[in-house]
């Protein structure tokens, strides 16, 4: 049969052998088709009559291939274990439709699987196999290319990055009424090296200014890196471990060069997971010289240690919190954002289910960069929309840029009339700038903060 196989199909099978880890083989072998995963998937809940959305069904598209080529059961009795190979490029296109277009790698089925099958992990592997032969959604290809070639996912040139920071520094000086207020770049031996998502530079730098205000108020010794500042990593979405290692090492190299003590990651779910949890593996590297933390934890520490003061009444409104799958399910960051949110708003209402059981914003796994699947995505968002609606909140807070956009899209589509914001915006807005409490302050009173919330997005 192998002579009838297309070149790409041949390559996909060959590469699969190189990508099978114990974790993946365990997941491919362990499924007993009990169906527990079915009700855990937001795609299934929105499409109850379509079995092709069931996690076990989707997993079987990849499992067939594994059984056919790498598992003895498939060699002895292929008809019994459903072993089936891929032969044509059309077969690969069908696989693409499943692994990119019918799963956001949110891992909700994984934590609800009694056998411990981690579909998202081998779904990501399958994406990587297809990417290796050039089969992928155009948006994913474009972003990965920018990250490979320019060094950040939006192709921002170094001078544009530096000028944007300078501009935000001017705004900081104006708002703080302190010409000595700085956003340092490449300062050596800083306590904190702050890395961000390129969208903050290209489209919405308000979150850079808000973070700078918080560092300023805390009197922090911090810096932004001149290079290796993009903490996002499209390898998490396209399954290309080589890209993952290259991007993560760019950041780690820079922190080591600057001898930074702590790498702080702005509020971004996939960036946090990639840089803190997956990056060292992709980059084949031990991290010994610095700590890695989410800015959520940094901000919470500032309040607990009394380094910054906040006033809840500056953030009127009813708030709820959306857990990003990468932060909550994959990295276990569930309590800190809630604790922080409760410190900066008066009215916080929990969303159900929440924490590790929360439903995907529908924009995960790079879905926001794949407009071809938009209709499916919005339809699958019905469950999330109902969840949001039931909270009675008018503002949803999330610690992930992708979730911000995913949620904003759903709020617009389902006409929920809610707004979306992030913790950094709420903390900055709640700051009580008492000159005595600011390290290095000049004793002047800062300009009045804008009463309107700064980082808000109205769909």
């Amino acid at each position: 049969m192998s002579s009838e196989r297309s070149h790409k199909a041949e390559k996909v099978i060959e590469r699969m052998g190189k990508k099978l880890t114990r974790q993946i083989v365990g997941s491919l072998a362990a499924c007993v088709h009990c169906g527990m995963c079915t009700d855990s998937c937001h795609y299934v809940l929105a499409n109850p009559d379509d079995p092709t959305y069931a996690p076990a069904y989707k997993a079987d598209r990849i499992r067939k291939l594994f059984k056919s080529h790498y598992d003895w059961t498939g060699k002895v009795f292929p008809w019994w274990v459903g072993a089936k190979s891929v032969y044509t490029d059309k077969d690969l296109e069908e696989l693409k439709d499943t692994v990119f277009g019918k799963c956001t790698n949110c891992r909700r089925c994984s934590i609800n699987c009694p056998m411990g099958v981690d579909l998202a992990t081998f779904n990501r592997m399958a994406r990587g196999l297809l990417v290796h032969v050039g089969i992928m959604p155009e948006g994913i290809a474009h972003v990965a290319k920018e990250q490979w070639e320019i060094g950040n996912q939006m192709g921002i040139l170094r001078e544009d990055y530096l000028e944007t920071i300078e501009w935000q520094e001017e705004e900081l000086q104006e708002e703080m009424n302190d010409p000595a207020a700085k956003i340092p770049v490449d300062r050596m031996d800083a306590n904190i090296v702050y890395t961000i998502n390129p969208r903050e530079v290209k489209h919405d730098p308000r979150s850079i200014l808000d973070a700078a205000k918080i560092f300023y108020a805390a009197g922090e010794d911090w810096t932004m890196p001149g290079e290796g500042w993009d903490m996002t990593n499209f390898a998490l979405f396209n399954g290309d471990d080589d890209l993952g290692g290259a991007v993560a090492n760019r950041i780690y190299d820079k922190i080591e060069e600057l001898r930074g003590k702590r790498l702080v990651i702005s509020e971004c779910g996939h960036g946090y997971r990639s840089t803190r949890c997956e990056g060292p593996n992709w980059g084949k590297r031990d991290i010994n010289d610095f700590e890695i933390e989410s800015s959520v934890i940094t901000m919470l520490r500032y309040i607990k240690e009394g380094k910054i003061k906040v006033d809840k009444s500056k953030n009127p409104g009813i708030y709820t919190f959306h857990d990003s799958c990468n932060n909550a399910r994959s990295c276990g960051m569930t309590e800190e954002p809630r604790e922080l949110l409760s410190l900066v708003v008066k009215d916080f209402r929990e969303m159900y289910p929440n924490r590790a059981e929360n439903y995907c914003c529908t924009g995960g796994g790079g879905a926001m960069s794949m407009p071809e699947y938009r209709e499916r995505r919005l339809k699958s968002g019905k469950i999330k929309a109902d969840q949001l609606n039931a909270t009675g909140a008018n503002i949803v807070v999330t610690s992930c840029h992708n979730c911000v956009d995913g949620l904003a899209d759903l709020i617009g589509h389902y006409k929920l009339g809610m707004k979306v914001t992030q913790l950094v915006n709420l903390v900055a807005n709640a700051l009580v700038l008492d000159r005595k409490s600011i390290g290095g302050g000049n004793g002047k009173k800062p300009a009045e903060a804008n009463p309107a919330l700064s980082g808000i997005i109205t769909p």
Binding site: H142, H203, D204
Partner: protein, 111 residues
């Protein structure tokens, strides 16, 4: 491919309503897109849209927000050259909303 009807003509748009061919754009299309969002375009909205068009025609890329604010400040005064002002005009964000009205392609990446 989804389409948009305007003055008896059919225009191809992407799944999120961005015009597929930026060169087919005209002011009526922008107004129509805004109308579908229940928004009436003011002179202030047009200033942003026209700048985006000019910039895109020159460089075939949407400007970074830094450039957009700087140029607006230069042309129309400092009070119009800041992020807050732009988000008041375009609450869904200048990158997404204003670019769509201006007939530019959808920005890529985490947006």
């Amino acid at each position: 491919m989804p389409t948009m009807e305007f003055e008896g003509k059919t225009y191809e748009v992407d799944e999120e309503g961005y015009l597929m061919d930026w060169s087919l754009w005209n002011e009526g299309i922008a107004a129509e897109m805004a109308k579908q969002d229940n928004l009436e375009l003011s002179d202030a909205h047009w200033e942003v849209i026209r700048f985006l068009r000019d910039y895109f025609e020159k460089y075939q890329i949407a400007p970074m927000i830094k450039i957009l604010t700087k140029e607006l400040a230069k042309k129309y005064g400092k009070e119009k050259g800041n992020t807050k002002y732009l988000y008041e005009l375009y609450p869904a964000g200048p990158a997404k909303q204003a670019c769509r009205y201006a007939g530019l392609p959808k920005p890529t990446g985490c947006v």
